[in-house]
């Protein structure tokens, strides 16, 4: 890796457990400012747990989580969000009986509900959300809900956006659109750490990738190189 300086996010030898089950086994990854990193791996390889550890939903028994050079391992989730993390959770997890507008507001909870330019930015990215702003989030279609989830995460002006399976449950045409939007978000300067099953798609847009297997790092490198990697192709890309 030729990226210099302190990484924006660094997981340093993290061991995470669910009860007695050892999930992440000494995992170390890093994401630099403005970088687009994807996290690949089969089922139960610890991808989502990596995101949970990053956000502080679970805390590692050993190892450290550093954000912007600061050790946030023992800090609560809200602190990390305030420092500039945001997440598009798996299955979106919108607040169904609340309107699109209220959902977006909740994304900027720590900023007091969002300033006008935050809304403008999100509506600029997703013009449809402006039309739907008074509609209950639960009544939107899957693709629209994904937009709300993205918009909600972007409301707090994150430095690092975590995404858990952004293409899950979307029609193929929407998956492509989704990744265009992700690229757009990335170009606006937000660092991305994306967990994705659709390895082809993820590697075609990401800068770097990590491959996990049963909680261990098995492969890392440039996305373009990973896409050509023999074992990976056999294991996940189906080519």
């Amino acid at each position: 890796m030729s990226v210099n300086g302190t990484p924006l996010l660094q997981l340093d030898g993290c061991d995470t457990y669910y009860g007695q089950i050892h999930i992440l086994q000494g995992l170390s990854i890093e994401v630099h400012a403005g970088e687009f990193v994807c996290l690949l791996g089969g089922n139960a390889s610890g991808k989502s747990t990596t995101l949970k550890t990053t956000l502080g939903i679970v805390s590692p028994r050993r190892g450290r989580v550093l954000f912007g050079g600061e050790d946030v391992t023992r800090r609560p989730t809200s602190y990390r969000i305030q420092k500039g993390m945001a997440i598009v959770p798996e299955n979106r997890r919108l607040f169904a009986p609340m309107t699109v507008l209220e959902n977006l507001e909740m994304g900027a909870y720590l900023q007091g509900g969002g300033a006008k330019d935050d809304f403008d930015r999100v509506y600029g990215l997703f013009p449809l959300l402006y039309e739907r702003r008074a509609q209950l989030a639960g009544t939107l279609s899957g693709g629209e809900q994904q937009m709300v989830a993205m918009g909600r995460a972007l409301m707090g002006k994150p430095k690092l956006l975590l995404m858990d399976e952004p293409s899950m449950g979307l029609a193929p045409i929407l998956v492509e659109r989704q990744f265009e939007i992700i690229k757009e978000v990335h170009q606006s300067g937000v660092a991305l750490l994306v967990v994705e099953q659709n390895a082809n798609m993820a590697l075609s847009v990401a800068d770097r990738g990590y491959v996990l297997s049963t909680g261990r790092l098995v492969l890392q490198g440039k996305a373009s190189e990973l896409a050509e990697h023999e074992d990976l192709r056999k294991a996940y890309l189906g080519r």
Binding site: L55, I57, T77, S78, R80, I81, Q82, I87, P89, R92, R93, L94, F95, A96, P97, M98, E102, E105, M106, G107, Y109, L110, G112, G113, E131, R132, Q135, L136, A137, G138, T139, L140, S141, E144, Q145, R152, G156
Partner: protein
């Protein structure tokens, strides 16, 4: 069957596009607002008008009506029931914050009501010879309640749902044990034990506002000033909570209720929000407690027991948890019904009115409704005729709660002088037939309804009205079950929106 004999399915030769929505054009969501099913005609127009009225208009109308109630009713009893209802509304509003908005199952809620009442009694009585003015006592008690709510809410950091419920229930039990045995608390008589704080010696002071004492009784009957006091508190609490709910905190509570993990992922201080909900609820409960203690000039541990907890929960759930208007309607329905059912004559009106309303609700104006009503009436006269022909003693039993309705009904429903074992048999049979009724459909149900209704009237007149105290809770329970089946989220509760 050979291939030639098989009927050809009606499949067109080429792809056809029926008129209407076209492929690739998803306009369902865009027209979502227009697709709301509205009632047609005048009723629909009125409904739409009412829906458009802002909440403060409703509140103003309601408070004005309640304030004018003493003009129309001079009876101390009616005024007292009105006072109790508003006090229940206040309690329900507080519980709605914790349960309806915060989604926290707090079974210790009544403990805060009791805490408020006891605090008021201790701060303005001879118990410790402390007599603070009301304007000081009430804020102090509210703050004490809020702090207590905060502390009792602490387990909610790690617990939710039924786990939280059982822990808060345990706190409630502790409260009951402490106040009932509080006459030897570290060698001091603090709470007066099972006798409570009251009577001439304790002399719990009534409210004192603007330099005037508000005596509990005014020339022998309920002092209507307390109705105005509780109404004023109610209006203030309602508006305050409304603003809180429409603020960022209110929305955060709702998102917390919908999805605690997502709320945390958005960076909301989830634990702090939970404690805040507990605090708000407890403060409102404590405020209600002060009014209760002042009006009753005393506090007694038996008041703050499980039946009260269940009553307030019933109000919130029946009315629609999460909706302020809903819990108010719930409080009115439950308390007024329980009062009406106390008296056999009134209970009779309620019973038959509910049956007729329910039949109208299910069958509307249809042939079936006519068959059911006509059949039941005819069956009654036939049975009555046969029974009176056999023996006069079959129909001239004593009636409970004399009024015009029973005078008419006497010619229809049989009230034997002595029922003997039939009391139990008919009661059990009625339950059996009602259960059977849920299993059959269509005309079978209509046919079964006729004897069921007559049996219900028989059991009502002969069995249930002889024990009104138990009956009123059975009827309330039946209403609760039916309403919850018809409207699972309560009378005014919002339909749940699930992510699909």
């Amino acid at each position: 069957m050979t291939d030639a004999e098989r009927p050809t399915p009606n499949v067109p030769d080429s792809l056809t596009e029926p008129a209407g929505p076209a492929v690739g054009q998803d306009e369902w969501v865009a027209r979502h607002a227009e697709r709301r099913l509205l009632r047609g005609g005048r009723l629909g127009a009125v409904e739409e008008r009412l829906r458009a009225a802002p909440w403060w208009a409703w509140l103003t109308v309601f408070v004005c009506l309640a304030a004018l109630l003493p003009v129309g009713f001079s009876s101390g009893y009616v005024r007292r029931v009105a006072f109790d209802t508003v006090l229940y509304m206040l309690l329900a509003l507080g519980l709605n914050v914790v349960v309806g908005w915060g989604g926290l199952l707090d079974l210790g809620y009544i403990a805060f009501y009791g805490l408020g009442a006891y605090c008021y009694a201790l701060l303005s009585s001879n118990q410790f010879d402390v007599h603070l003015p009301t304007v000081a006592t009430v804020p102090i008690v509210v703050v004490v309640g809020a702090v207590a709510g905060w502390l009792i809410g602490l387990p909610s950091w790690r617990l939710s749902g039924d786990y939280l419920a059982i822990v808060t229930l345990f706190f409630f039990q502790i409260f009951i044990v402490v106040v009932t045995n509080g006459d030897h608390l570290f060698g001091h008589n603090v709470t007066g034990g099972s006798n409570g704080i009251g009577g001439v010696d304790a002399n719990v002071r009534p409210f004192n506002l603007f330099g005037h004492d508000l005596p509990v009784a005014h020339s022998g009957s309920f002092n209507v000033a307390y109705l105005y006091v509780v109404l004023a508190f109610f209006a203030v609490v309602f508006v305050l909570l409304r603003f809180v709910n429409e603020s960022r905190i209110g929305r955060a509570w709702r998102s917390l209720r919908e999805d605690p993990l997502a709320a945390e992922l958005m960076g909301m201080p989830v634990n702090w929000l939970k404690l805040l909900a507990f605090s708000f609820g407890a403060a409102v409960a404590a405020l209600s407690g002060t009014i209760f203690a002042a009006l009753n000039a005393g506090v007694f541990p038996t008041t703050f027991a499980f039946p009260l907890l269940i009553t307030v929960y019933t109000m919130v759930i029946l009315g629609g948890s999460g909706s302020q208007a809903g819990v108010i309607v719930g409080a009115i329905v439950v308390n007024v019904l329980l009062e009406l059912l106390r008296d056999a004559g009134n209970a009779r009106y309620v019973f038959y009115a509910l049956i007729v309303l329910a039949l109208f609700g299910v069958y509307r104006l249809s042939v079936r409704l006519a068959v059911v009503l006509g059949g039941t009436i005819a069956l009654g006269f036939v049975v009555h005729g046969i029974a009176s022909a056999i023996a006069k003693s079959n129909v001239d039993g004593p009636a409970n709660g004399e009024n015009w309705l029973i005078d008419g009904l006497r010619h229809w429903v049989i009230v034997p002088r002595d029922l003997g074992p039939w009391k139990q048999i008919t009661y059990v049979a009625l339950i059996g037939v009602i259960l059977l009724l849920t299993l059959v459909r269509g005309w079978w149900r209509v046919a079964l309804l006729v004897p069921t209704l007559y049996l219900a009237a028989f059991v009502w007149e002969n069995v249930m009205l002889t024990a009104p105290e138990a009956t009123r809770f059975i009827i309330l329970g039946a209403i609760l079950v039916s309403v919850m089946i018809a409207r699972p989220s309560g009378i005014l509760g919002e339909r749940r929106v699930e992510i699909v």
